[in-house]
């Protein structure tokens, strides 16, 4: 490699990642060992092997082996039945979660900025935080029926708490001296919101959205399992009833995969939007 080529290579080195860089860049192998992926693979392989051994030695009708589960999962993935169920379930998830974000973020921000509102809202937030949500499903079904509406509402109230609480915390942790600084430069109230409070609260808002996604998936499955008996939850109940253990496991694997995927997407968006905060030790909820 000539010097010029080396220079070009050096310039191509990853940019954009902010924060102090330590010494030289590790090679591909070093990066791989540095990440948690190989370790996760090792534990996964060990887990799969243990599962396989257990299921073949002691298992029976009710415990499928790992390979059977994989086969069933693949079978489900190519079946129309699964995708129809996915579509119906995710309708509730998407609508419910969208409502949670559209209501939760503004509500959290307003609660964070105007503290006196706390007196009115705190008790409801606490109720939302601690209530076993399964308990209010019958109530929802009684008032909204077995349709999409009760599933949407349940997903929304499952996830909205995380969104509200984190948005509120985000606004509160914006340094008051930044607001004073903006005012000293003649910022209007509107500019304080758009230029200081919202960008400052963004990392926590994104954290709330990520945690909310997890809760939304939980809510989606629980409502289908416990009451409405539709879509993915309905599939689980159906496979259980038919003793199709491998398919039952496969459905759960697919739900888990979807949850992981959504959370990864949320985490990716969080990093993209709020990279500046990643080095901040002030991050509260992670």
């Amino acid at each position: 490699m000539t010097l010029a080529a080396a220079d070009r290579a050096a310039r191509r080195a990853p940019r954009g990642r902010s924060g102090p860089r330590t010494g030289k860049q590790p090679g591909a192998l070093g990066r791989l060992l540095g990440s948690s992926l190989p370790y996760q693979l090792v534990t996964f392989v060990a887990f799969a092997a243990a599962w396989e051994v257990y299921a073949t030695v002691w298992g029976g009708l009710l415990i499928p082996s790992f390979t059977e589960t994989v086969h069933a999962t693949i079978g489900l993935l190519v079946s129309a039945e699964l995708w129809a169920a996915m579509y119906v379930s995710n309708q509730a998830l998407a609508l419910g979660f969208a409502i949670a974000v559209l209501i939760g973020v503004p509500a959290g921000i307003v609660l964070g900025r105007f503290r006196w509102l706390e007196r009115f809202a705190d008790v409801y937030l606490n109720i939302l935080l601690v209530t076993p949500m399964a308990a209010i499903i019958p109530l929802l079904v009684m008032s909204l029926g077995f349709g999409l509406a009760s599933r949407v509402v349940l997903v929304a109230i499952f996830s909205i708490v995380m969104v509200v609480v984190n948005s509120r915390a985000g606004v509160r942790q914006v340094d008051p001296s930044l607001i004073e600084m903006a005012r000293s430069f003649g910022a209007t109230e509107r500019q304080i919101w758009t230029r200081v409070l919202l960008p400052g609260a963004m990392p926590a808002i994104m954290t709330g959205i990520r945690l909310g996604v997890g809760r939304a998936v939980t809510g989606m499955v629980i409502v289908e399992l416990l009451m409405v008996s539709a879509a993915l939850g309905g599939l689980i109940l159906e496979y259980r009833g038919l003793f199709k253990a491998a398919s039952l496991y496969g459905t759960i694997v697919i739900i888990l995969a979807e949850a992981l995927l959504l959370i990864s997407a949320a985490r990716w968006a969080e990093r993209r939007l709020t990279g500046w905060a990643q080095t901040d030790s002030a991050r509260s909820a992670r």
Partner: protein, 264 residues
């Protein structure tokens, strides 16, 4: 020119009683003067600065700048903060241009002015860095550039070098002097350091605490420009004398308020 007449400010303290932060403060700051305000902590010097900035209301008296009474923050004034108050998510360029952006200056002009001030404070090449990648001294350079970018006629500085280490502080003092010598604007500079007050100021306003009021205004008879040889200036007789005088006065104030601490 800033005219302060009979300024009084009190607020309700933690114990419910009324605390008088400022009592009957009269002060004139002339055009292009570098005025330093020195006093023990709790003497209301930051309160005074925030009143001039229009950030907080007061109870009595008037503040008039170039014939216009102060009713709130205005484009004629800008402020430099002790804790820098930089936006952690914004780059150096965007931080310096922040005041301009709030005032509706378009992107091209904003960035051009920001770049020229980044050059003035010696941060060229750091335009795309974010505050957490900079040292304290560099962060305050950003703060100074941001304040200068809006082209104020009055620069209000609230212990701007209080949070940086001694060596950086000395460098920043020299640079501030040279910036002020070139740009010429009125500066009100709060500090708790006698040396800093003397080195930078045309006059030193000495404040005393409880209630905060002006004890004395001490002219600094050191010649300008001072930025080219700060070392020689600090060894000069006039500098030593006036610093010693200020310390005597400050010590008297401490003895008035806390005799046990000084005696013991």
């Amino acid at each position: 020119m800033i005219e302060i007449r009979g300024l009084g400010k009190s607020f309700v303290g933690q114990d419910g009683g009324t605390v008088e932060a400022l009592h009957d403060v009269d002060l004139d700051v002339v055009e292009n003067e570098f005025l330093t305000v020195l006093g023990p902590s709790g003497c209301g010097k930051t309160t005074l600065l925030k009143c001039i900035a229009g950030l907080i209301p007061w109870n009595e008296g008037d503040i008039v700048i170039d014939g216009t009474p102060v009713r709130g923050p205005g484009p004629d004034r800008s402020m430099v903060f002790q804790n820098f108050a930089l936006l952690p998510w914004a780059t150096v360029l965007d931080n310096v241009g922040f005041g301009l952006r709030l005032r509706g200056v378009g992107r091209a002009e904003r960035e051009e002015r920001a770049r020229s001030l980044i050059d003035v404070v010696g941060l060229s090449g750091f335009e795309t860095k974010r505050p957490h990648e900079l040292s304290g001294g560099m962060q305050q350079r950003v703060g100074i550039a941001r304040a200068l970018a809006v082209q104020p006629s009055v620069l209000l500085m609230d212990e701007p070098f209080g949070a940086v280490d001694e060596q950086t502080r000395r460098l920043l003092q020299e640079e501030l002097l040279s910036i002020w010598e070139q740009h010429r604007l009125t500066v009100v500079f709060i500090t708790h350091s006698m040396e800093e007050a003397v080195l930078l100021g045309d006059r030193v306003v000495l404040m005393s605490a409880r209630p905060g009021r002006i004890a004395e205004i001490v002219p600094v008879p050191l010649q300008r420009p001072r930025s080219n040889d700060v070392g020689a200036l600090e060894r000069s007789g006039a500098y030593v004398e006036i610093t010693a005088y200020l310390w005597d006065r400050l010590r008297e104030m401490h003895e008035e308020h806390r005799p046990s601490e000084v005696a013991g």
